[in-house]
């Protein structure tokens, strides 16, 4: 079972915007989503395009889009202001 909190791929030039997809509380690994949402793999898929980059917020208990945001953003990027 992979960890529920994947690390984003960052380059030295990247500046992570305060979006859920860049937050430490956000996880969206497809297989982990299939494990967390019972039945998703039965007539759907964690790997499908329709899911875009949606994932789970461990802080608020939401299933939401990677471009979503909230006041509790905590960057995954090392050294980023928190």
């Amino acid at each position: 079972m992979p960890a529920l909190t994947p690390s984003p791929v960052l380059t030295s030039a990247s500046v992570a915007l305060p979006r859920c997809g860049n937050c430490v509380h956000f996880a969206n690994a497809p297989a982990a989503m299939e494990a967390a949402l019972p039945g998703l793999a039965t007539m759907g898929s964690g790997f499908g395009s329709v899911r875009a980059q949606d994932g789970l917020c461990a802080l608020h208990g939401y299933y939401l889009a990677a471009w979503d945001r909230c006041a509790r953003f905590d960057s995954k990027q090392e050294g980023a202001p928190r």
Partner: protein, 469 residues
């Protein structure tokens, strides 16, 4: 669980994974695999150096067990090659998506062997006497193994319902003339839109009347109106659902979809619906693509085997074409727009806050079911290849040399998918849905079935019945 990779969004935008989607999403893998088969079939056909038919092997009619064994013995090499080709293509994709091959390959071998048994049962000359329909049999075998026998969880690696059905849909494009898509597409879109809107608002309004939360009512509505689990999960992300809400919609979609897989073909047969008309009705009424293909393929077989005297008009292919036009062109491709509109409603009406959330129009593309692109390209390629052939020559030359092998491979891919539906449906693992969501969703199912029937049979009945080249 053996999947390891992630699809991290672009950190500078927090949105899509950009070009990495081309190898990180199974939709694109379905496109690559489906188009690879189509292009290979076209090249072999145009070079006159044989046909892909050699590798697209399946059991043919048999009456005694020794006959079946004889067939298997004579074609053993072809079956090994066919399995190896599928295993390399699907296994390669699974590896890139993050699965371990040592989990995927044994699982896929099981899927392939079970599919062979399903094909063989369907080719038995007594199959129609016992109402053995391969798609339904595949589903039943899968349900039995997963719910009664029990299979280890690691085997799930090869039970990829959506991946196989998407690949099958791309291959289906090769058998569906592009001119037919252009001609019938607008009608399919009109019919599907009427039913989708009516179903969505029925579920949403009944749900609200029963006291269901706005977001859950919308997720249930999208699941019933657009494309089942895929729509429910897309809208869940768009409206920022509570994490326990998508599984409720998934449970209801899966349960109703399975009921309709078994019910719709037999009801349509009892009503003597022409195959094209039944395909349109199933296209408006089934939720998930794979479930609908199981129902529509079963109906085509039922008509071909049980009513060859012509009491029911149409061919099995007409049922599949009408279903595909309604489901894929009329419903699936609009999921991004549904998600975008509902995200606007969620942000500006349901959950106004100070976080600066904004609706993202980009999700119309990010959520677009990309396998549809492969479906259209395959259709264009084969339509181009068939240009200049008369209908007689098409049936004599193009169909057996180019189209038939791709149909053969498509039926295999769909059978993998039907089996996988059963193999992944573990009733005890599904989330409890609760009474109020159940009744709201069921109200939508009733409206969907009745309105879909009226439009498919009464309003556009003649149109769908005559659907052809």
């Amino acid at each position: 669980m053996s999947q390891e990779t992630i699809t991290a969004p672009d950190p500078t935008t927090g949105n899509s994974a950009g070009w990495r989607e081309l190898w990180l999403k199974e939709d694109w893998w379905a496109v690559w695999i489906g188009l690879a088969f189509t292009v290979a079939a076209y090249l072999l056909f145009s070079a006159g150096s044989g046909s892909l038919g050699w590798i697209a092997v399946a059991p043919t009619k048999w009456s005694t067990f020794p006959q079946l064994l004889d067939q298997l013995g004579k074609n053993a090499g072809r079956y090994v090659a066919e399995f190896a080709l599928f295993a390399v293509l699907f296994g390669g994709a699974a590896k890139v998506l993050g699965y371990r091959l040592r989990a995927f390959l044994p699982s896929f071998l099981l899927v392939y062997l079970l599919s062979f048994l399903v094909f063989a049962a369907g080719a038995w000359d007594q199959a129609s006497k016992y109402s053995i329909e391969p798609p339904l049999l595949a589903l039943l075998i899968g349900l039995f193994l997963s719910n009664v026998v029990g299979l280890p969880k690691w085997l799930d690696a090869g039970f990829r319902v959506e991946f196989y059905v998407k690949t099958g849909i791309v291959l289906l494009g090769a058998g569906l003339p592009f001119t037919l898509i252009l001609w019938a597409g607008p009608t399919a879109l009109l019919q599907a839109s009427i039913v989708s809107l009516a179903t969505f608002f029925t579920i949403y309004l009944v749900g609200r009347k029963l006291g269901i939360d706005q977001k859950l009512a919308a997720i249930l509505g999208a699941g019933g109106a657009v494309c089942g689990v895929s729509a429910a999960i897309a809208v869940s992300g768009a409206v920022r659902a509570k994490k326990e809400q998508p599984p409720i919609a998934i449970t209801l979609v899966v349960l109703w979809a399975i009921v309709l897989i078994f019910a719709l073909p037999f009801v349509a047969k009892a009503l003597h619906l022409p195959t094209g008309t039944a395909g349109a009705w199933i296209g408006t009424s089934e939720f998930a693509d794979a479930a609908g293909f199981a129902a529509v393929q079963s109906y085509g077989n039922l008509v071909a085997q049980a009513a060859p005297d012509g009491t029911i008009s149409g061919t099995p292919e007409q049922a599949v074409w009408a279903y595909t036009l309604i489901k894929v062109i009329g419903r699936d491709v609009w999921i991004g727009i549904w998600a975008f509109v509902l995200s606007i409603v969620s942000i500006f009406w349901w959950e106004r806050d100070e976080s600066g959330r904004r609706p993202e129009a980009g999700q119309i593309w990010w959520r677009f079911p990309k396998f549809v692109i492969g479906f259209l390209l395959a259709s264009l390629l084969v339509t181009f290849a068939a240009k200049g052939f008369s209908l007689g020559d098409f049936n004599k030359v193009v169909k057996p040399g180019l189209v038939a092998p791709l149909i053969g491979l498509r039926v295999w891919a769909f059978t993998f998918s039907f089996l996988s539906i059963g193999l992944t449906t573990r009733f005890r693992d599904l989330a409890p849905a609760g009474g109020r969501p159940f009744w709201a969703f069921t109200a939508g199912v009733v409206v969907n079935l009745i309105l879909g029937f009226l439009l498919s049979v009464v309003v556009f009945g003649e149109y769908w019945a005559k659907l052809s080249h």
